[in-house]
Symmetry: C2
């Protein structure tokens, strides 16, 4: 089984040209088979402001109404995706930009309305991800798929999906064909023992350690992992439980070292 | 050699939901291998107006400055392209949206600055079109490529290219592999003997007839073909001279009949 890197970048890279180009150069140099998933960053909000598309939130989560899905389709699938593809092509990486609608790569269902209608938000149907097509692109055509976080409901409607989730769902689906290493690039050096200390990276997390990190610690009375890191690690542990080989979390400073496990936090099944 | 349809649609279809959906239904039902190329229509101008991106022209031709290439990348490669793909996917057509940067499909050079700087406008390098990849998508993967008129210079810069030209360049490049029929959908029934009479379609045009149509006619003192139709037909004649089997021009009312030559104007080598 061949290795495959699935790497996700977010706003801290996309919104910053001075970070994006060095990241893409490191990405292009990585040996072997790879997929990039990018989020949206602040560009969509900035362009939305100019267009008069108001950002709407409920319980801190974005509501994707009809105007907003058009906006994010333009910015994510158009502006960001094609600029990344053109830049990678210029440094000898055979990038191909994809949304989840293209070749039916990422079929999704519109999230059910319960208390809140989140609008055009898609939950990927993992069993229907077009693995065969992706494997052909990667194996036979030597392409590097670049995914934006837009999916579709197979009935003509584009949907907005969280980019972390897109990366995780692709990693899971392709773990039947490849030995998948899922990598989340974010602003910190890794999962930190002390959130104030960038040198306190926890190199390896398993389920057993995670259970300890969630508990209030004897010395501080507070848990080490809380808020935004909780679902990130929970999802990573689910991924490795379901077939992804490992998940790494770290910054973009040295991508090769992050992948080798020399930097950042690596989450494994045991 | 297998037949391949390369069909180009423009603003009169794209700007009009009531025309777009019926067209896509007809397109999805067409047997055999096919490619769709779409232009931009008025949506880019409307969104540009809201964003404060001024449309600039010189001698009637659009100037694509840095703001404008971002705008058309958003609208053509994002909004229009992905909505067409999602709609086709919903009617069992395995569409995949592509810009010229994706998989290096359409390498181009930025148009040289002579008297006027047209900005980020790309002239496709026909010999470098990624024929092999397109042929694999079409033949092996049963995909239907949907091209927006965005190309790239292989050095990281996206470029704006006329959609008629994109269709023609793809048709020419693939005529070494397929028996290509290039179809331009526009607002009229075809090339008309009398521009006021939609029933006066000229069914077939060859080089010899074209030379006559360009001359002032004895009865009216005016040529039959003039202005915008001149380059359309000239380019079509060049295409059939260089290996495209035939070029059809007509409206979207009955796509199957247009393709069969029962409607519209068909341009052939002899």
């Amino acid at each position: 089984v061949e290795p495959l890197l699935v790497i996700k970048i977010g706003g801290n890279i996309i919104d910053n040209e001075a970070a994006l180009l060095p990241f893409l150069r490191q990405f292009a140099l990585l040996d072997g088979k790879k997929i990039l998933v990018h989020g949206g960053g602040k560009i969509a909000t900035q362009i939305g402001d100019k267009l008069g598309v108001e950002s709407k939130y409920s319980n801190g989560r974005r509501i994707t109404d009809a105007e907003t899905i058009d906006l994010v389709t333009m910015v994510y699938a158009g502006l960001i995706n094609k600029n990344i593809v053109a830049k990678l092509q210029s440094i000898h990486c055979n990038a191909i930009g994809l949304s989840g609608a293209d070749a039916n790569c990422l079929p999704a269902t519109k999230r059910e309305v319960k208390d809140i209608d989140y609008g055009f938000v898609g939950d990927i149907i993992n069993s229907r991800i077009n693995n065969n097509f992706l494997a052909t692109l990667i194996n036979t055509e030597n392409c590097v798929p670049i995914f934006c976080p837009i999916t579709h409901n197979q009935q003509g409607q584009l949907l907005n999906t969280n980019a972390d989730t897109v990366a995780q769902e692709i990693a899971l689906a392709l773990s039947s064909t490849f030995n998948v290493h899922l990598i989340y690039i974010f602003e910190k050096n890794g999962v930190l023992l002390d959130v104030e200390n960038e040198n306190s990276v926890i190199p390896n997390i398993t389920r057993a350690l995670f259970e300890q990190l969630k508990q209030p610690q004897a010395t501080t009375g507070k848990p080490i992992v809380f808020e935004g890191m909780l679902p990130k690690i929970e999802n990573a542990l689910l991924a490795v439980q379901q077939g992804v080989e490992k998940v790494s979390i770290g910054n973009a400073q040295n991508l090769a070292q992050l992948i080798k496990g020399e930097k950042g936090t690596t989450i494994t099944h045991a």
